[in-house]
Amino acid sequence: MNHNSLHPTVQIVSILVLVQAGISVVSSIEASFATLAFGPAAGGLALVNLALAGLLFALANRLRHGSDRARRTIRFVEVFVIVWALFDLALALGLAGRSIELVGLTTRIVMPVYVWRALRRSDVKATFRPGQDAVAIEAPVLTGAAA
């Protein structure tokens, strides 16, 4: 599939997924430091977050190349992120009587909801070929937009 034929919203979504991947890298580094301070509980999380970052980079890249599988996988990941955020929001409201802070609302609810909704819009979906993986999949590294 020629990625220029994709809906322009896909480019915005891929930017947001790239930023989410970057935040996962930050989380991975923070978990590594936490391992030193608080013990081994965070060690596994550092690896999980690094793997998540790699997955998101790859998905952002494949999405730009028209992969419908990437579109569906990203939607699944975003649902997971939103549900987790809502659980934390319930804890914050229940225990501390306050909401998630501004940045958390943006990164954990606003961005994932936008991505999830955008990728389920019919005009966006129509530009993906159902069930198709990316035609010109690049290595799952920090690749940017197609030339």
Partner: protein
Amino acid sequence: MTSVLAETAILAHSDLVITSVDPGSYLGSPMYAVIPEHQLALFGLVVTILGAWWVRWRANRHASCEETCLYRRYGRLALPERFVFWLVTSSAVIHLGLVLGHEPSGFSLAYLIGTAATSWVAWRMLAGRPWRRPAKYVLVGSVLAYAATLLAGEAPDQMGILTKLIEITALAGVIVVPASGPGRIARSVRSASVVGLLVATAFGAWVGAMSSGDGGHHLGETPPPGVLLPGGEDREPTAAERARAEHLYEETVAALARFEDPAVAAAHGYDVAGMFGNDFHAGNEDLKHDGRILDPHHPETLVYAMAGERPVLLGAMFEMEEIGQAGPAVGGPLTVWHAHDHICLSLAPVGIAGLQSPFGSCPAGAINVPITNEMFHVWVLPGLDDPFGDIDEAWLTEYLAAVELAG
């Protein structure tokens, strides 16, 4: 109730006789709040978001207006460009809000420059002039300038971090999704630069938040991230408060002497397994809901540090049984209780996995504990200036080295 408490009323938080505390009345790290000087900027951001909807609607209605009309110019932008335009415009409005929200200073001049630079980029986009290169310089410059001020010791807040997130996202739109792009390596470098700016912002935020705090265990201090203090100003303790604090300290030292051997602590139900580091908390679940508060003979947690292979008892941590219960500050401002917030709790294995990131999340796989019950430390090491506050890291390292050397 102990003898210490029996002598006095419950003097919660040093001045007021209260038994409960509103979690919202705590003072926490500014990293998790919007400071008052930045609220105008937040208002500006909300207005910009509403303005974006309005302009979008007007642009659709004025698609056939004159060539130079703003709505038509806006309508010529591709969707990803409109996305970048609104992010850059948001940054400009936020910077303007910061100018208006602060007293004139070097910082407000910097905010003014930020307003001008981001407005200039937004205008170039509307005017149809080349804008990608200026946008790169302005956005990267703004993010790096912020990181530099954080590294110099300025405390971050939610508005500052959000602004940088907006700018980094805009930059991603500028450099990662151009109309035409270079080869794979160059594109990878561009994506990596976005990640690098996120890491730099987070690193700067941690450094700024940690270094701008005053220690965070006395009234009136700015707490570091993860610590909540009750509101109020510090004051000199009264003679009675000083006497009660000394009594509490002496009673705790005497009661804890038996726990210098972790095996004795383990026999009393403390979880000393896997001891490591300079701040190992060995809790005793049986004592956490036993109805005894601030009982030196039954502290809820013991704190150890490792001097080489040898465990050293640092002191005790007393805990309240419920969130929102105020601890009894028997020594007035000498014995201020604190709580913790934004703790990341790993679910498998269960354990503390750090503090909430400046970007608002715990690592995937950890939940965010928004607040804990109140707690209070009594340190029993000889030679400490303040047995109830923070132990100075350098002092502790030196002390542990001396213990290790002495065998």
